[in-house]
């Protein structure tokens, strides 16, 4: 064996470069899971299970899609499929820009669109056999010519897109504002996408249809096509699950949990006279209760309204101690759901009944034309009878 150490090193480097993407993907997945575990409290850990499972599904899908090798006659090699991938990537890029706010903040739908984009890029890489970025030694003359042509065609497209943004920057004040919006977080990702993938997209578009499979190929093609079908199923699942989750936010019944408790002694023990006409003030101790509740809609894609309040009563009227103010109506949260506050009021009626009304609209980020109204109400009369909660 007369192996050249430099050759071995080169082979090692090549092997490493071939494995960079999987390594980066697995590391990113682990980082996401760890972040979830670190950031989320023990109580909310259950809520992160669907997201973690979804991320795992994305990883499996990526592995299956990346494992497909394009064969003559295979599904990914079809011209229509390649062009559909290009259109899907373009649509994803438009969505990234449209859904991103100005500045460096990520839009709520940005992570999901980025995941789709990564999956689509992997599929595109397989569909084009990664000719656009392959080393010169691994492609033949026809492929070299094809990718050079793809780059030549991609160049003016890239220059045109960048040029349009630059032109908008100089044209007028409103167009400059538009350019700044485009150059926000979503625009940055789209810029990277164009910079690294646009030639591959053009190549996928212009590459001629593959020749029909040879006679000895069908058996292998069938196996590959089965794997491709599985991959399609997984990709569809990855795409459909967030949409189904979004529909569930609007369609499934609300999940409500509530708990009323007496606060620890010494928290609030002031008093008021029982009757103004009484010659000697008779102090009646206040009675207070804590009201904790959570109203949740959806699963995976979800929105929740937490209530943590305290009210006291003395036989004349019920009063809020905490947790029923405007600030408390900002406490709603969730994942991929926009929460819009419709109403946040606290009133005390003439008969001393305390009413707190918190009304919001849930609207899924991915299907913003769907929405549902949710009302949380706390009604306590002057004697502490809870007429409604939540």
């Amino acid at each position: 064996m007369n192996e050249d150490p430099r050759g071995r090193r080169r082979n090692g480097l090549r092997l490493f470069s071939n494995r960079v993407t999987p390594v980066v993907a697995v590391m990113a997945f682990l980082w996401l899971i760890l972040s979830l575990l670190v950031l989320v409290s023990a109580n909310d850990l259950l809520a992160t299970v669907p997201l973690a499972a979804y991320l795992l599904l994305v990883l499996v899908t990526w592995a299956v899609v990346a494992g497909i090798r394009r064969e003559p006659g295979s599904w990914l090699g079809r011209r229509a499929v390649r062009r559909a991938l290009v259109v899907a990537i373009a649509a994803d890029c438009v969505g990234l820009i449209a859904s991103s706010p100005s500045g460096s903040q990520l839009g709520s739908a940005t992570p999901l669109l980025l995941i789709f984009l990564v999956l689509l890029n992997i599929a595109l890489g397989n569909a084009t056999e990664r000719i656009a970025s392959a080393s010169e030694s691994s492609i033949d003359e026809r492929q070299e010519e094809l990718r050079n042509r793809a780059h030549r065609l991609a160049y003016p497209v890239f220059a045109g897109v960048v040029g349009a943004v630059l032109l908008a920057d100089v044209a007028s004040t409103p167009s400059r504002e538009w350019a700044e919006h485009v150059l926000g977080s979503g625009g940055f990702f789209v810029f990277l996408e164009l910079l690294f993938v646009l030639p591959g997209m053009v190549l996928a578009f212009i590459e001629p249809a593959p020749p029909p499979p040879e006679s000895d190929v069908p058996a292998r093609s069938r196996r590959v096509n089965v794997q491709a079908r599985v991959a399609v199923g997984l990709v569809l699942a990855v795409l459909a699950l967030p949409l189904m989750g979004s529909v569930a936010v609007v369609g499934l019944p609300l999940r409500t949990s509530s708990h009323v408790s007496t606060p620890q002694p010494g928290a609030v023990l002031s008093g008021t006279p029982a009757s103004p006409s009484s010659p000697t003030p008779q102090v009646i101790p206040l009675t207070c209760h804590s009201f904790n509740a959570e109203v949740e809609a959806g699963w995976g894609v979800y929105a929740e309204l937490p209530v943590s309040a305290q009210a006291c009563w003395d036989g004349h009227r019920a009063n809020e101690e905490y947790g029923m103010n405007q600030d408390d109506c900002m406490m709603g949260g969730g994942l991929l759901v926009a929460i819009t506050m419709d109403q946040c009021t606290r009133t005390t009626a003439a008969d001393g009944t305390l009413t707190f009304t918190w009304r919001v609209k849930f609207s899924p980020d991915l299907l913003p034309f769907l929405s549902r109204h949710v009302t949380v109400k706390v009604i306590i009369d002057k004697n502490g009878n809870v007429e409604r909660f939540p």
Binding site: R147, R149, A159, D169, V170, A171, R176, E180, L195, F196
Partner: protein, 349 residues
């Protein structure tokens, strides 16, 4: 493959000349994309760059811009290859230019800190978007990278074989191409002189300031751009305070405070020195600090304040924008900030 200086033909520049042109173009593009002040001479840089681009195009036979029908097989392959390499270079070039910009920006800030009393950041308080010099540097990259790749290669000469060689027409086109330089200058001059000015809002990195006790203060910033990104910007920054009787700019000793702002200083019979009551705060109310003039000079900047009988403040920044030396074709620019004694903004850039 040696003999790097071998020309493609007797009349065409050799590889060393072509490479020198590429290096000169890269150097000028880098200077254009840096934060180093150009003092109104940016258009000279652009004109030289345009001249170098024309030379590069001539040296390569404008191969990158020619249609396939006029090329032979070798030229077509070289052109497509140049676009691939150029595409790959764009990303790296943008990163490099960004590093240059950050480095030069830090250098400018450090130099200004050592040469003036206050550390004045190179970044203006006024948001003018992507500056004209960056726009032009990006345009240069996008337009000329494939040509630069071709010029850098040994086989990147003009290569007339396979092209219709009509000498008279080529000579005519060669001279016509040089008209691009005065054309660019004419368009720029027209833009600076006649183009309507554009308003520029406050930048996101604006400072937040304070003022005398018993007053409410707010920072204002904005500007007016002349000639879009390719002229100059006259900027305004002011820390305005009001106390329900009068509004005024605080932090610029050149603008004296109204009597009501200094009379009640807390100690009867004591008149504090002006530097106590109205200390110089150029980061808040500096005059002319937000002017930028990469492509046209900004001079005669004056900041004046007028408080009317109702206590409403009228703060005006005026300047002269001159695209050419000796004030030729200059334009007077004036921007105004009007704030009532109750803090209501009636006018701002």
């Amino acid at each position: 493959m040696n003999g790097s200086t071998t020309p493609m033909s007797g009349a065409e520049p050799g590889q060393s000349v072509r490479r020198a042109l590429v290096i000169a173009t890269a150097a000028l593009t880098t200077l254009l994309a840096s934060a180093l002040p150009l003092h109104g001479f940016g258009i000279l840089l652009v004109a030289i760059l345009a001249g170098l681009d024309i030379l590069l195009c001539r040296a390569t036979g404008a191969l990158a811009f020619r249609r396939a029908s006029g090329l032979d097989e070798r030229q077509r392959r070289l052109r497509d290859f140049a676009y691939r390499r150029g595409f790959r270079w764009i990303g790296l070039a943008i990163v490099l230019l960004y590093v240059v910009w950050i480095g030069s920006d830090i250098a400018v800030t450090v130099v200004s800190a050592t040469t003036s009393q206050f550390s004045i950041p190179a970044v203006s308080d006024v948001d003018t978007g992507i500056s004209g010099r960056i726009v032009l540097a990006m345009a240069e990259l996008l337009l000329m990278l494939p040509t630069s790749v071709i010029a850098w290669r040994r086989d990147g000469g003009g290569g007339k074989e396979g092209v219709d060689d009509e000498r008279g027409r080529n000579r005519h086109q060669r001279w016509m191409s040089w008209l691009a330089v005065p054309g660019i200058i004419a368009v720029w001059l027209a833009a600076v002189v006649w183009l309507p000015s554009q308003s520029a809002p406050r930048g996101s990195f604006s400072a937040s300031g304070g003022g005398p006790s018993g007053t409410t203060c707010q920072d204002f910033a904005g500007g007016t751009m002349v000639g879009s990104e390719f002229g100059a910007t006259v900027g305004l920054r002011a820390d305005v305070c009001w106390d329900d009787t009068v509004a005024y700019v605080w932090g610029n000793p050149g603008l004296p405070l109204p009597a009501s702002a200094t009379s009640d200083y807390g100690v009867p019979g004591f008149t504090p020195p002006a530097s106590w009551v109205n200390p110089a705060q150029p980061m808040l109310s500096g005059c002319g600090l937000d002017n930028t003039g990469d492509f046209a000079a900004v001079s005669h900047t004056t900041c004046t304040e007028h408080i009317d009988a109702h206590g409403t403040m009228h703060y005006t920044v005026s300047a002269r924008v001159s695209p050419l030396p000796f004030g030729i074709a200059s334009r007077e620019v004036s921007i105004e900030l009007v704030v009532t004694r109750a803090g209501k903004v009636l006018e701002q850039p």
